[in-house]
Amino acid sequence: MSMLEVKDLHTSFFTPSGEVKAVNGLSFSLEKGKVLGIVGESGSGKSVTAYSILQILTSPGRIVSGSIKFNGEELVGKSEEEIRRIRGNKISIIFQDPMTSLNPTFTIGNQLREAIMLHTDRDRRQANERAVEMLRLVGISEPEKRIHQYAYELSGGMRQRVMIAMALACEPDILIADEPTTALDVTIQAQILELMLQLQKELGMAIIMITHDMGVIASICDEMIVMYAGGVCERGTTDAIFYHPMHEYTRGLMRSIPDMSDDEKVRLIPITGTPIDLLHIPPGCPFAPRCDRAMKICLREKPREYWVGRNHLSACWMNVKNNACFETRPEEGYEEAEE
């Protein structure tokens, strides 16, 4: 049994102009101690997926249907109090912008202690010790001094370290990292990623890494999901997807990664067009309007996920046409078709 099992999740924002279907039939699972990457462009529903798992969506957004099972326990429909006990305790999250994600009017120590005291029996003094210990763990120097400081007295990289310390203080089973390095500069990005991986190994938690950086996915994730317009294009092990992308969108993403190994100047190949309007989702494959190889059926009917490898699913009509997919999971030893 997977630790986290998301099935046919639908999350919408009910705006005055209509229902915006931000997550539209998403399914995936996460095994204990694994790193799962979710990649996709802005507005593809990556963050909304994360907020749905923790149910920290703000009005007018809410989960419409679907199931989120954590250790076999259904989270959708749980009371606020029940889900609150899981947040920051069993499942934690760190956000994109560390500059604004810490409360400016409370000390670092106060915010760390709060996270610790919410979910454990530690008293103030013990929580303080734990806070110092966590700050040291995430590589912050002079933690005894830092806990008396405010967020504005720390740099961006330091603040993200504090966020990580806060998220991990209760030793969660899952850490969701919502573009944790996007707002940081490149050298700090590498440090933060390395820190997260190191802590993942030490503490044995699973990570959901949300990013739009294929490089990050390739370097740290065991499995990945390619999202587009709130749904899954393709999911599976990172190796399977990087070596045998089985969806036109994934192939487009791969083509748009700059190749630094060539001395020749090569033009990047962008994916033309813009994402569809989530207020008016057309029938058919959401990527079809931008797809170079779209067929008639792509515009008419939405493809469902088919197995294209032993650890690899893709939702693309092309695979059906090419007879490259299966209804059920292929047997062990199955070699993926080369595209």
Binding site: R87, S92, S101, T105
Partner: protein, 308 residues
């Protein structure tokens, strides 16, 4: 930190002294540019009597000399003698009036701030729902209603028709209506400030962080959001408290409260130079003091603010 704070205090004090000096100078010269004399009245006095009176109060000297004398006396804590209430010093009269005004004003101001913060926060949390709309309509009505209309309506309903409360300020329970009349406008104003500020804060990333940590929603609001949302209210509350403590001319007159506001109106009617100047300087000092207090409060609420 401490030496920085001391330097800040000294700077603020010097600024305050300069401001008060300017207030004194402007009031003094404006008062002396008015053709009316404190001794002009319907009953004609002989020139000799007026000359004697002017000599007694020092009004016969050239204006610049009077100004210097006035400044000298202020430094000694002497704000002169009232010409409108003969036999009283300005200080005595101001303190007498202030004891009433401050009592009403402090209560009214406190009610306004506390209720305003609560109502504003509730409205923000209930955004778009019925309760929010009711609060918005009521506060809009209250901020657009002049205080004399408000006070008269309250007087009419609670004192005359229902007879629950006395109409005069010196009767037992008589301060209730003036307190309500005084507090309604600032309360409505604080509510509106707090609502928009709270809405702004609730959309901030650190609120999402707090929820993601598993903080109870009540604590998210009362700990994380409230402290961050108070700045606009503090900005408004400083000068508001100064005005409300020094008395409202309208409300005190309507309810016959012998406070500073009423004293101020009457001293103007009696062209009592000394009283007008005294009250003006008192008001200016209060405003400076309250602004100083709100600056200190900023720092308490938001550590990012540098006092300089």
């Amino acid at each position: 930190m401490n030496s920085k704070f001391l330097a800040y205090l000294v700077k603020r004090l010097l600024m305050a002294l300069l401001t008060i000096f300017l207030v004194i100078a402007i009031t003094f010269f404006v008062m002396h540019a008015i053709p009316a004399s404190p001794f002009s009245s319907e009953k004609a006095k002989s020139d000799a009597v007026i000359a004697a009176l002017e000599a007694k109060y020092g009004f016969d000297k050239p204006v610049p000399v009077q100004f210097l004398n006035y400044l000298k006396n202020i430094l000694r804590g002497d704000f002169g003698l009232s010409t409108g209430w003969v036999g009283n010093t300005v200080i005595e009269l101001i303190m007498g009036g202030f004891s009433y005004s401050a009592r009403i004003g402090f209560t009214a101001g406190l009610i306004a701030i506390i209720l305003g913060i609560i109502l504003g926060s509730v409205a923000a949390l209930q955004r778009g729902r019925a309760l929010d709309k009711i609060i918005q309509v009521l506060t809009t009505a209250l901020v657009s209603m002049p205080s004399f209309v408000m006070a008269t309506i309250l007087l009419l309903i609670f004192a005359l028709q229902l007879g629950w409360l006395p109409s005069l300020g010196n009767q037992p329970g008589g301060l209730v209506l003036p307190i309500i009349s005084l507090s309604l406008y600032p309360m409505a104003y604080v509510t509106r400030l707090q609502r928009s500020s709270m809405l702004d804060v609730l959309g901030q990333d650190y609120i999402r962080t707090a929820r993601a940590k598993g903080v109870r929603s009540a604590l998210v609001i009362f700990k994380h959001a409230l402290k961050n949302s108070l700045t606009p209210v503090i900005t408004y509350a400083g000068p508001m408290m100064a005005y409300i403590l020094t008395g409202s001319m309208v409300v005190e007159n309507i309810f016959s409260v012998p406070g500073l506001g009423r004293l101020f109106t009457n001293s103007m009617l009696r062209t009592d130079y000394m009283m007008i100047m005294g009250v003006t300087i008192f008001l200016a000092t209060m405003i400076i003091l309250m602004n100083f207090l709100s600056d200190i409060l900023y720092k308490v609420v938001d550590p990012r603010i540098e006092l300089s």
